[in-house]
């Protein structure tokens, strides 16, 4: 069997739901697993169990051939012995140590020359030169995040655990650093588990997404799978985006990007887009359906397609349209009757460019 991280454990805090997780993360091709879900869904608890900072009440965690915890067999490997890189939500930089002091904190067993060389490498990799002697309080949010990352990867960990790595930053910095973090994670080639509640971050960073709610792992799959084919209504509600497809940016004029999805051209807001590979994300609420051949509106995207599926959901109906890719639209029952929509009907889907969200997937 190929090396893998196998998690099967439960943890209950008094007065809260039980966090129960069953996950397998292959370790031979380093991948990024996203724990995705609303706040309080048990993502951080699971991450802390992996870091050895919480002890599960039952179950086991196996990393390759090493057992990290096996409650039944009374095996408990301390956080010190797990060789992990853990970055908590607010970074937890040591206020009494300088940037260099923070980065080399876990390297005290290395000879001085080797340690200094490693610190130099990390300062260069994370663009922290010139800040060696600064204290954490003197750094910006983005710089603090990079120091915390440098410290976490300094010991060449076998697994990286990042808890909401971008949530402490303001929105513009977050978008910029999210792309940089993706590049860095790919470069490092260390398996990583990242906790986030932000779908754009999940799509940018993740190779696999595990959707969590109320302590349960509801679905595990590729970002496209999880977003476009949620396992059940609960997952659909949590991810909140019904159409996620891969696309290629073919032009980007003044922030309005033209994206090709299986040959269908779409316009979306691309001010934050770098590189050409993107995920195109569209909420079903943002899609208008019209009968083919009707009037002109302000929408930038007119997609001709065939209705392939109609799913009633209360007063609403989810209509799937094949317009080169599968697009989901959410309309009222009345609208469906007025349009006379059936399977096989020809429709035009109109989407404003502002409702087409592009998430970079370079690297």
């Amino acid at each position: 069997m190929a090396a893998a991280l196998t998690v099967d454990c439960r943890k209950t805090f008094p007065g809260r739901f039980t966090t129960a997780a069953q996950l397998v993360l292959p370790l031979d091709h380093p991948r990024v697993l996203i724990l995705f879900g609303p706040s309080g869904s048990g993502k951080t608890t699971l991450l802390r169990c992996l870091a050895g900072l919480e002890w599960p009440d039952e179950g086991r965690i196996q990393f390759g051939s090493t057992t990290w915890i096996d409650v039944a067999a009374n095996i408990r490997l301390s956080p010190q012995a797990r060789r992990i890189g853990y970055m908590p939500q607010d970074y937890a930089l040591f206020p009494t140590h300088t940037v260099t002091g923070n980065i080399e904190y876990g390297l005290s067993d290395l000879p001085t020359a080797v340690r200094q060389e490693r610190v130099r490498e990390l300062l260069a990799l994370l663009q922290l030169q010139g800040l060696e002697q600064a204290k954490p309080a003197q750094l910006s949010g983005g710089q603090q995040q990079r120091v915390a990352l440098a410290r976490a990867i300094a010991r060449r960990p076998q697994l990286l655990l990042l808890d909401e790595p971008l949530s402490a930053l303001d929105a513009p910095t977050r978008v910029k650093l999210c792309g940089q973090l993706r590049v860095l994670l790919t470069q490092l080639a260390i398996p990583a588990i990242v906790v986030t509640h932000d779908w754009a971050e999940a799509l940018t960073l993740g190779d696999t997404i595990a959707v969590m709610n109320a302590g349960q792992v509801l679905q595990v799959g590729s970002p496209q799978e999880v977003f476009s084919r949620p396992a059940n209504a609960e997952v659909a509600q949590i991810v909140g985006i019904e159409t996620v497809v891969q696309g290629l940016v073919v032009a980007n004029d003044n922030g309005l990007a033209t994206v090709s999805v299986n040959g269908t051209m779409l316009k979306g807001l691309g001010a934050d887009v770098s590189g050409s590979a993107v995920y195109v994300c569209i909420r079903a609420d943002d899609v208008l359906l019209e009968q083919a051949g009707s009037g002109i509106t302000s929408a930038r995207n007119y997609l001709f397609g065939l209705v392939t599926e109609i799913l009633p959901q209360g007063v609403l109906v989810t209509v799937t349209v094949d317009c080169g890719f599968l697009l989901r639209a959410m309309i009222t029952r009345g609208a469906r009757e007025d349009l006379g929509l059936e399977r096989g009907s020809t429709v035009v889907a109109a989407i404003k460019a502002g409702a087409v969200h592009l998430v970079s997937r370079s690297a």
Partner: protein, 224 residues
């Protein structure tokens, strides 16, 4: 002024503060970080000298180290003379008497250390003991100094315990507070006043240091 009594007092206070700084660290660490459900029992024992009359504490220490107790017998077999009414006996009593004055500020400082920093240190492969010395101690310096200074100041002024355990032996166990009492008994108010003033000045100076240490904003020079 009785300089011999002053010398004995400062020697006693310095040694008490030094011993408490060493003994207080593990006790404060355990009190702060232990998750034992009956921890409050130990907490109450440590805090007992705060509320117990010094004569009561002194009485029990006297009995505990006296020639009829196993501890007292062991000590006199080892050293050749009994523990009560010696400087060593007085030092032991002072350490017990000032224990909460050292342990409580240190424990409070430890409790102030953000637990996430401690966890971050553990995940970086640093043992609990090394985390204590490399992270918790540097973050608790104000508490350590407060603990040492308060136990020093508290020992300077002790009276009841000294009288019970140390007696009143010139150059050995006669401390400043006993000396002042003696002077007043002998109606030598001038002598008592001088010594009392010295004790007042030193105590005030020590408290100034404690409060200045724990200030967030420095009025005299800016925090760097």
């Amino acid at each position: 002024m009785n300089w011999i009594a002053i010398a004995v007092t400062f020697k006693l206070a310095l040694l008490t503060a030094a011993v408490l700084l060493v003994v207080g660290l593990p006790i404060a660490y355990w009190l702060t970080f232990s998750k034992w459900r009956w921890k409050f029992i130990v907490e109450s024992v440590v805090a007992l000298p705060l509320v117990l009359p010094p004569t009561v504490l002194g009485f029990y220490i006297l009995v505990a180290i006296g020639p009829h107790s196993p501890v007292g017998r062991f000590y006199s077999d080892l050293v050749g003379h009994p523990l009560p009414f010696t400087f060593e006996g007085l030092l032991l009593a002072s350490i017990l008497y000032s224990l909460p004055f050292a342990v409580q500020p240190i424990a409070a400082a430890f409790a102030q250390v953000d637990h996430r920093l401690i966890e971050a240190s553990w995940t970086l492969g640093v043992s609990k003991l090394k985390t204590f010395f490399r992270l918790i101690i540097p973050l608790s310096t104000a508490g350590l100094i407060t603990g040492a200074v308060l136990s020093f100041a508290h020992t300077l002024g002790e009276f009841g315990v000294v009288l019970m355990v140390g007696g009143n032996i010139e150059g050995e166990t006669r401390t400043v507070s006993i000396d002042i009492y003696d002077e007043v008994q002998a109606l030598n108010y001038a002598g008592a006043a001088k010594t009392a003033l010295l004790l007042l000045a030193v105590s005030y100076g020590v408290l100034l240091l404690v409060y200045a240490m724990n200030r967030k904003v420095w009025a005299v020079w800016p925090q760097r």
